[in-house]
Amino acid sequence: MLEIFQYGFMQRALVAGMMIAIICSAVGTFIVLKRLSMIGDGLAHIALGGVALGLFLNVYPLISALLFAVASALGISRLRKTEVRGDVAIAIFFSAGLAVAVILLSLANGFNVNLFSYLFGSILTVDETDLQIILILGILTVGAIILFYKELVYLTFDEESAMVSGIPVEKLNNALFVLTAITVVISIKIVGVLLVSSLLVVPAATSLLIAGNFRETILFSIIFAIFSVIAGLISSYYFNIATGGAIVFATIILFVMVLFYKNSKGVA
């Protein structure tokens, strides 16, 4: 139907984009309901430190970003159990990641085009290796959420009761943080560091306006995210604008439309 999807890079971007839409919205639903909306942003900036290190050392940037983000996710999870509050824990790791990124980038003689695509997302840069990594990690993430769905729902709603009923709350919280880190890192190529947390938060927030139960929330959220990714990819191609911006702008338009729809129906 659309000639743009005849191009190999567009096909890769589309497949990667759909996978990202699914995991961002599924993981995002739990994150938003746990009131941890800022963790995506924190992990993305930590991942940027990893990307910078990868570019600096000339290793594959998504791998170094993944190591940085997963280690930090576990660190944040641990730190928020001490006297440090959750949001402060995120801010500390966020700062560390960004500081490392800035130092390495200045050592590597500043910004270049490659970095620009990591910051803002690009459909042009998803190569075969990226696509494979996005698909493998994406499928693992979806699988983990399906396997532990009922326990994740329980601990998101009521951590204390989940703990009393014998659910391994601490381990599952750590797992959720690691899944968030993976989701953020593999989304960076398409959405960019600066906007990846929006794709975690906005579709879930939109879905929460109208969903009546948890399954619906995840389902609607995935639909909104997929629609936004496709709309964003197409407009990114035709108007030659950064993909991340186009996708997230689409999620915002959807949010506003759903909000108006809800208010016009007078639903409380």
Binding site: E151, S161, A162, M163, V164, G166, N213
Partner: protein
């Protein structure tokens, strides 16, 4: 002899150097309906949380169903309704059915989906609390009393042998409270569920539970209402009684 469901021995607990619980000893036997009463800040909730290993005591031992709490695994035998259970985010997207089904999770174990039998037990729990027609409603849309019943249904869905309720009548009006105690009495007598109920409101509870313990840092098992109406063992009780009337 009666089977001991909970055995608490010499429990002490401090919070930031201030003593919260002092030398608590308590035995709860199968079939008991125990009310623990005491003013706010008397350590009731802390004691419950220690019994549920949500908090570690400074010293002392706890046995649940004859087993040391550290080795106890059958958590599905215990149903728990927390003090502020109904004060959750009202926009949280869960249906009544989804909330009650959580009661099945621990019995089911990780990686296993609920099956037809689980669904029947969930329906039965909803029926028991008189909320059968509400299964697809959003939990946040219910009234305080209705939410409370849903959380009790969730606790019942694990088919517990022991049900622990922390301030279950807070925010529930007096007329509903009477029905509520009738309901608890039936659970206790007909289904032989051991009940532990904690409250600062000594109005109705004293006449409805089988056994009473009074609490103010220390626990006074078997205390008689008349004793603290005259103000002997526990300061603060009287004021609370007046505040709530009966």
């Amino acid at each position: 002899m009666d089977e001991k469901i909970i055995e608490i021995t010499n429990i002490n607990f401090d919070s930031e150097g201030i003593s919260v619980l002092e030398d608590i000893n308590l035995v709860i036997s199968r079939g008991d309906f125990l009310g623990i009463i005491g003013p706010n800040g008397s350590g009731k909730t802390t004691l419950l949380k220690i019994m549920l290993r949500l908090i570690k005591p400074k010293s002392g031992t706890i046995k649940l169903f004859g087993e040391d709490i550290h080795h106890f695994r059958d958590w599905h035998k215990i149903g728990y309704v927390a003090q502020h259970a109904i004060n959750f985010d009202p926009n949280f997207p869960l249906s009544v059915f989804e909330v009650v089904s959580m009661g099945r999770f621990s019995k089911k174990g990780l990686l296993r989906k609920l099956d037809k039998r689980d669904f029947e037990i969930i329906e039965y729990a909803l029926e028991t609390v008189g909320m059968k027609g509400y299964r697809n409603k959003r939990i946040g849309a219910l009234s305080g009393g209705e939410k409370q019943r849903i959380f009790i249904a969730r606790a019942l869905a694990s088919e517990p042998e022991l049900l622990i309720l922390d301030e279950p009548t807070a925010g529930v009006d007096v007329r509903v409270q009477k029905e509520f105690y009738d309901f608890l009495e039936r659970l206790n007598k007909e289904r032989r569920i051991t009940l532990v109920l904690v409250t600062h409101d000594i109005g109705t509870v004293t006449s409805r539970v089988g056994k009473l313990a009074c609490m103010n840092k220390k626990l006074f098992p078997g205390c008689h209402p008349a004793e603290f109406f005259t103000g002997i063992p526990i300061e603060g009780m009287k004021t609370i009684h007046h505040l709530h009337g009966d």
